[in-house]
C-alpha cells in the first residue's frame, strides 16, 4: 500500500470536490499537491485511534473544553492546503460551530497515527503543514514501536517534547491536566 502523490498540476479545492466519493481513498491537498491514501488502515492503527480518542474525548467532555473528532473530517488550513484529514483532532468549544461541513483554521491539537504508507506524509509533509498553519500541539503515534512523540509549537517552530513508551505518562500542553499512560493507547 503506497500513497499516490499527484503532480505537477496545482490542485485546488474545486478539483478535490470533483474527486470520487467513498472510493476507498482518503484525498488530501497540501500546498497544491494531491495525496491519496488508500483505506482502510490496519487494526493496530484503528485501536490507537479509538483508544486515544476515547481517553481524550472523556477528558474534554468531562471538563467541557470542546470537541474531539476522528477522520474523516476535513480541515482547511489555508487556501492551498485543504482539506487535510487528521486521524484525531481537538477543537476548543469557543471555536466550534454546529453543522460544520469542515473546520477552517488550525485545530488546537492534531494526532496522526503512522502507518507504513503515511509515514513520510505524517513526518514531513503534514509536519510542515501543521507547523506552518500554527497547530499548537502535534502528536505522532507509532503503532509499530509502540511510542508517541509530542511536538509543541514555540515561536512558530515545533519543539520536540519527548518520545514516550511503555508506562511513561504523557502530558499535554494544550489540554492542561490531561494525562495518558503510553501503552494504554495500544491496549498493551
Amino acid at each position: 500500500m503506497t500513497i499516490t502523490i499527484t503532480q505537477p498540476k496545482t490542485w485546488t479545492y474545486d478539483d478535490y470536490l470533483a474527486l470520487p466519493e467513498n472510493d476507498g481513498n482518503r484525498y488530501e491537498i497540501i500546498e497544491g499537491v494531491l495525496y491519496t491514501t488508500p483505506m482502510p488502515p490496519t487494526g493496530d492503527h484503528q485501536v490507537a485511534v479509538y483508544e486515544l480518542g476515547r481517553q481524550l474525548g472523556n477528558f474534554v467532555v468531562d471538563h467541557d473544553l470542546g470537541y474531539v473528532l476522528g477522520a474523516p473530517f476535513g480541515v482547511h488550513l489555508s487556501e492551498e492546503t485543504r482539506p487535510v484529514e487528521p486521524d484525531l483532532l481537538f477543537i476548543r468549544k469557543e471555536r466550534w460551530q454546529q453543522n460544520l461541513k469542515f473546520f477552517k483554521g488550525a485545530p488546537d491539537l492534531v494526532v496522526e497515527i503512522l502507518s507504513n504508507s503515511t509515514r513520510r506524509l505524517d513526518r514531513n509533509v503534514k509536519f510542515d503543514a501543521y507547523e506552518k498553519a500554527g497547530v499548537p500541539e502535534y502528536w505522532i503515534i507509532n503503532p509499530v514501536s509502540l511510542s508517541v512523540e509530542i511536538w509543541v509549537l514555540e515561536e512558530e517552530k515545533y519543539q520536540f517534547k519527548g518520545e514516550f513508551t511503555g508506562t511513561d505518562v504523557i502530558h499535554s500542553t494544550v489540554l492542561q491536566g490531561f494525562e495518558v499512560v503510553t501503552k494504554s493507547i495500544f491496549r498493551r
Binding site: N116, G162, E163
Partner: protein, 212 residues
C-alpha cells in the same frame, strides 16, 4: 531531557564553514545549511553491534565503513558527523598498502579540515531525545537531498530501526523493524540482522538488574 544547542545564522551574522571549523571538538558539532547543531558525545552500544554486522556483510566489497568522521556534503554546504557511514572506497585516496598511522593521519586531517567529500551509500544515526528532531526532520531532508541511498535511524528507546531508501529522489520506507524482525538493506544484499540482537546490551542489563 537534554536539549540540543542550535546556533542559527542570521542575515546580519551568518555562520560560515570557517567559523564552524574553529569550534572545539569536545562536543559533536554539525553544520547544516547555515546552522550549527551541538550535541554531547554519548556512548552508543548499537554502533559496535552494527559495525560487526555491517563489516561482515561488506566483506570484499568496494565500500568502507567509517564511524564518527566529519563528512562534507558539498552540494548542501553542510558538514555532518554520522555515527556510521558506508562510503565508496575509491573516494579515499590513500597510498596502497598504507599503514595504520597513515590512516590515522588521514582521518585526523579529514576531521580537522572537514574536507572529506563523498556521497555515502548508507548513513546510520542512533537517535536520542536530544537529537530527535535533527535526525527525523533536518537530517532526513538533508540526506534525501544529498542523494544518500539509504538512511537508517536506530532508536534505542523503542528498540526499533527504521530504514529509508531513496527512490526517484525521495525516501521511501523500506521498513521499521522491531523485536524478531530481520533488518535488510538494499545496498548490502547479504545483510540480515535480527533487530533484538542490536539491543542486546539492554536486555543483558535488564536481566542483571532483575537478578539483583
Amino acid at each position: 531531557m537534554h536539549t540540543q544547542l542550535i546556533l542559527r545564522s542570521t542575515v546580519e551574522q551568518p555562520i560560515t564553514i570557517e567559523d564552524y571549523l574553529k569550534f572545539p571538538d569536545d562536543k559533536r558539532h554539525e553544520f547544516i545549511e547555515g546552522n550549527i547543531y551541538v550535541s554531547e558525545y554519548t556512548p552508543s552500544y548499537e554502533v559496535p553491534e552494527l559495525q560487526y554486522y555491517l563489516h561482515k556483510a561488506n566483506n570484499n566489497s568496494n565500500a568502507l565503513l567509517l564511524s564518527s568522521l566529519r563528512l562534507y556534503l558539498a552540494e548542501m554546504d553542510s558538514i555532518v558527523e554520522p555515527q556510521l557511514m558506508l562510503v565508496p572506497k575509491a573516494s579515499i585516496r590513500l597510498p596502497s598498502g598504507s599503514s595504520e598511522q597513515e590512516w590515522d593521519e588521514w582521518a585526523w586531517e579529514a576531521n580537522r579540515f572537514g574536507n572529506f567529500q563523498v556521497v555515502p551509500y548508507l548513513v546510520v544515526e542512533i537517535t536520542s531525545q536530544e537529537n530527535y528532531r535533527t535526525d527525523h526532520v533536518v537530517k532526513f531532508q538533508l540526506y534525501e537531498k544529498a542523494g544518500i541511498q539509504e538512511y537508517w535511524i536506530v532508536n534505542p528507546r523503542t528498540f526499533s530501526v527504521t530504514v529509508w531508501v531513496l527512490v526517484e529522489g525521495q525516501y521511501q520506507l523500506h521498513g521499521e523493524f522491531v523485536e524478531e524482525e530481520m533488518i535488510t538493506s538494499t545496498i548490502l544484499e547479504g545483510l540480515i540482522i535480527r533487530t533484538r540482537d542490536l539491543f542486546r546490551y539492554y536486555s543483558r542489563r535488564e536481566s542483571q538488574i532483575a537478578e539483583q
